[in-house]
Symmetry: C2
Subunit: 190 residues, 2 copies
């Protein structure tokens, strides 16, 4: 069985530590300890914790299946709903902790790291783009009213999602998710 390379072990551990504790609270030593590798090996693979965080964010993106929004085998609004339901289930699996790594970095470090702000910005822009395409597809199929601007609506829905995670973490309940699904799929896109 092929063993993960040392670099891969560090990225996996970093994703876990950053997601659970945040960028500033997760130190390089926490990450290398968690990966079971010597701290000294870190700088053979990464220039900085910031550079590692960019790679961890890419891995996070892949782990969330966000690109599946482009899979046209499912009807557009059902696909969008399924996408957020999958993400909700992941949050529930962590008892309403952790939230979204993209949003967390956005709230904690985007102001102070140009590199991480760019990475967060690109992830959010790509996510908005994918949702925009789903909404445009729904409009073409006649399953969404034509008055909504797909891009503005996509940006709003993603904003609502990121904020929903914050409200859910604050009271460790599904109430904010219930409101999100009701208002987005029962009202806004209905």
């Amino acid at each position: 069985m092929a063993r993960h390379s040392l670099r891969e072990e560090i990225v996996d551990a970093a994703l876990e530590q950053f997601h659970a504790y945040g960028f500033n609270a997760a130190g390089v030593k926490d990450i290398t300890d968690s990966a079971g590798v010597p701290k000294g090996s870190f700088y053979n693979h990464f220039d900085s914790k910031e550079a590692l965080a960019v790679v961890a964010l890419e891995r996070y993106w892949e782990s969330r299946g966000i690109e599946d929004l482009a899979d046209r085998s499912v009807a557009p609004l059902a696909r969008l709903r399924g996408h957020f339901e999958l993400l909700r289930a992941k949050m529930e699996g962590h008892e309403f902790t952790r939230g979204c790594l993209i949003g967390n970095f956005g709230a904690e470090v985007a102001d102070h790291s140009d590199v991480l702000r760019a990475a967060v910005g690109q992830s959010l822009a790509r996510w908005v783009e994918l949702i925009t395409e789903v909404l445009a597809e729904a409009q073409q199929a006649g399953s969404l009213r034509s008055g909504l601007d797909p891009q503005a609506t996509a940006r709003f829905v993603l904003s609502a999602w990121e904020g929903t995670l914050i409200l859910a973490r604050a009271d460790r309940s599904g109430a904010a998710f219930d409101s999100f699904f009701d208002l987005v799929f029962g009202t806004l896109l209905a």
Copy 2:
């Protein structure tokens, strides 16, 4: 002219430091240096950085005029819009940095501090309550359709607001705000 007490100077400095840098990145020494007081004086006034953060959060709440949502001298939906426009202007004044201290603490430390999670949760719950009352008032006045549940809608609008701040910080632009106002006041509550 009355000089702020030392405790007040520490709270003011803490609010500034926490808002600009986050809970973990703002150390006690950063705060006391910024307040121009000896580090040793800190523990005469606060048991911990966490305890100080709770007081800073209360001061943040007051600085945002959130309780003005209960001022019935302005029509409900105009009042709600004015509330968010005021907050948007504050973000613009900081060139789309800083965001909302309540949401920032929610994203960064709510999972790891019961005390701060409770403080964040209470602030968000009170904010939802105030928005709920505005929406119920708008329904009674016939200026909002009756099918919307005021509390679920309030929770959703506040979630959307908190996420909007994250998107705005990521690209340092007003695009996410424009979408928020279009979708909330032009569609959802129209």
